[in-house]
């Protein structure tokens, strides 16, 4: 008698994660996951972010008690990329989606928890290059947002890559920052016990909530965590 919905809805972020992993799978990427509670080593030290590095202060980390144990809530999915790299099963291509945490005041565009995916593709020198990074990300954003989408790379800096770039896509008439990326830094290879003269590769990290907000026109990131069927049933 009443309109009865037989099929449930998957969370919009689940849907983006599914689409992203499918697109990357077509380019040879496997899916990796890891713990939300991380060590200082995996989240910072191994990623070329030493204790006194300004990038560490920028990250607004949630440390866990007792702080001497050096445990924290991971601030980026690059921590999982490092765990995969340290398995030393090379060549390697992985994409790691998951929940990350930042200690910052929440508002319409900031949440203390959100989702990221991090990608890593490692091979012999000259095999996986900056050109592959451009091609891989361009294919991803075109498949997710539509074939007409424009993408550009800008010079930037992240401690775990060199060279480093910021990736923008053109949405309407505006360029939007959607991804930090680059060629994995030799110090990260060393931390994983791999000789950087023998291997090189690309790395990228993107906030999934932001991609969903752009794709669907959601204005408030907190909606994703409000468990409100009026919101969730639209996806």
């Amino acid at each position: 008698m009443t309109e009865c919905e037989k099929i449930g809805h998957l969370h919009p972020l689940t849907q983006i994660i599914w689409e992203a992993t499918k697109i990357f799978e077509e380019m040879g990427f496997s899916v990796a996951q890891g713990p939300e509670v991380e060590t200082e080593f995996h989240n910072f030290d191994a990623l070329n972010v030493p204790a006194n590095h300004p990038a560490r202060a920028m990250q607004d980390t949630f440390w866990l008690k007792p702080q001497e144990k050096g445990l924290l809530l991971r601030t980026h999915m690059t921590a999982v990329s490092l765990r995969e790299l340290a398995k030393k099963q090379l060549p390697l291509r992985v994409v790691s989606p998951g929940r990350v945490f930042r200690n910052e005041a929440t508002d319409a565009t900031h949440e203390a928890q959100f989702y990221q995916f991090d990608g890593l593709a490692i091979d012999k020198p000259g095999k996986i290059t900056m050109a592959d990074l451009k091609g891989t990300l361009e294919r991803f954003y075109k498949q997710l947002f539509g074939q007409n989408i424009e993408m550009r790379f800008r010079a930037s800096f992240f401690p775990f890559v060199e060279p480093g770039v910021e990736v923008d896509i053109k949405w309407g008439d505006k360029w939007l920052e959607v991804c930090g990326a680059g060629m994995l830094h030799p110090n990260v290879f060393k931390a994983a016990g791999i000789n950087p003269d023998e291997w090189q590769g690309l790395a990228f990290g993107s906030t999934i909530d932001r991609l969903a907000m752009i794709k669907y026109g959601v204005e408030d990131i907190r909606q994703f965590y409000a468990s409100d069927l009026r919101f969730l049933k639209q996806f």
Binding site: H9, E25, M130, D220
Partner: protein
């Protein structure tokens, strides 16, 4: 960092490009110009987010002028700085042209690369007696140039990333299957098929085993030990927004909990209804416990991906529910009436019309619809909702053979 256009121009013998063009060049090849503020008739202030590795050399007007001269080599500086030699270089980096091309996927010549380096006052000399090995002599103020990857970064940004070729990886590497990811997707497929909608709850709670050192609030000072508590609240919250008392609320969540000294992925389901009596039922078990049960369930989620989302934000103001019932000729299609109501109900009607009652009598049928009125700007008054409803009734009654039941 703030820089003045005019002050930067003083270091050059040639005029700087227009402010917008200069800002664009800096943003694409160096550090992002976040804001341009006009200052009087012919000057501008640029707010530039100098990249962390360039704070040593590029945060002074003179330093930024040197950077601009590297990005726009046709502009002559008034005072030209010489290239370093082996005695004045801060660092010496041994590299090959192949190193650079291997990292970037380019096919640049030694001359092209040397020309780019000279723009940032990095000198290039032959090393020893091998053909390939070169040494980059780094100018003293560039503290960020230390390894060959730093040199590749200089080449790429000076060249421009639009000049770096594009190449797509193909699936020439075998996929390693991730059992946890596959199992979680099997659970999602099963739950959605059974009518459950997925929620993502918060990791932070008011009690637990693992304590956050600097929590955002006291009720967010711990990591959750279960999903059930959040699930119960979510079911109760959504029961408050069902359209009819006989509607069910069915939710599920897959998430990590922190209990007994370990992090574990668990699955919770929540069921709620108001009739025949108020009932809320929660289940929670480990993800791995679904393994045997779902051995033959597909993990493909394609059929649950909505490609035609037309999103409308949810208003935080209270809603007002109104019903309208109408007699219509037997042959009238429900869609026709729904369209009529939608058109006349206006933007304040955020949900419905939902058909909830239908019966026939003496060649006519009676249809009853429910509508939800809500504003994005304020709390609606009963009168405002009634005015909208009056428009709906008027438009229905204009139709031949229609009679609104009062």
């Amino acid at each position: 960092m703030r820089f003045f256009y005019k002050e930067l121009g003083n270091y050059f013998a040639d005029p700087l490009p227009e402010i917008e063009e200069l800002a664009e060049v800096l943003t694409m090849h160096s550090s992002e110009v976040e804001e341009i503020i006009p200052h009087g008739e012919d000057d501008w202030e640029m707010e530039i987010k100098i990249l962390p590795d360039r704070t040593a050399d590029a945060k002074t007007p003179l330093g930024l002028a040197h950077e601009i001269s590297a990005l726009l080599p046709q502009l002559k500086l008034k005072e030209v700085w010489p290239l370093p030699d082996q005695t004045t270089a801060r660092a010496q980096i041994i590299f090959t042209i192949k190193n650079i091309n291997d990292l970037l996927g380019t096919d640049l010549s030694e001359k092209e690369i040397t020309d780019l380096f000279n723009r940032v006052r990095v000198n290039v000399i032959k090393t020893g007696n091998t053909e390939e090995n070169l040494t980059a002599l780094v100018t003293p103020e560039r503290e960020d140039l230390n390894i060959k990857e730093d040199l590749a970064d200089e080449v790429a940004r000076l060249l421009g990333y639009d000049k770096v070729p594009t190449h797509t990886l193909t699936a020439d590497l075998a996929i390693r299957h991730n059992p946890d990811f596959i199992l979680a997707n099997k659970v999602r497929a099963k739950m959605a098929t059974d009518g459950y909608t997925e929620i993502y709850g918060y990791t932070f709670t008011g009690q637990g085993e693992v304590t956050v050192a600097k929590p955002l609030a006291q009720d967010k000072a711990y990591l959750r030990t279960n999903l059930s508590e959040g699930m119960k609240k979510a079911v109760e919250f959504n029961l408050g927004y069902t359209l009819f008392d006989q509607n069910e609320v069915k939710l599920f969540e897959i998430g990590n909990v922190f209990v007994n000294g370990a992090e574990e992925t668990v699955v919770a389901t929540g069921y709620g209804c108001k009739k025949p009596e108020l009932k809320v039922e929660i289940t929670e078990k480990k993800l791995v416990d679904y393994e045997a049960e779902l051995a033959n369930t597909p993990s493909d989620l394609s059929q649950f991906i909505n490609k035609n989302v037309s999103y409308k934000s949810v208003s935080s103001y209270p809603r007002i529910i109104r019903d309208v019932a109408v007699w219509v000729p037997e042959e009238t299609a429900v869609e026709t009436i729904v369209e009529l109501i939608k058109k006349s109900a206006g933007n304040l009607c955020v949900e419905g019309p939902v058909l909830f009652d239908e019966f026939s009598k003496e060649g006519r049928k009676s249809l009853a619809f429910r509508l939800v009125f809500q504003s994005y700007e304020k709390t609606l008054s009963d009168n405002e909702a009634n005015d909208q409803l009056a428009k709906v009734i008027a438009s229905l009654e204009k139709q031949t053979g229609f009679e609104v039941r009062k």
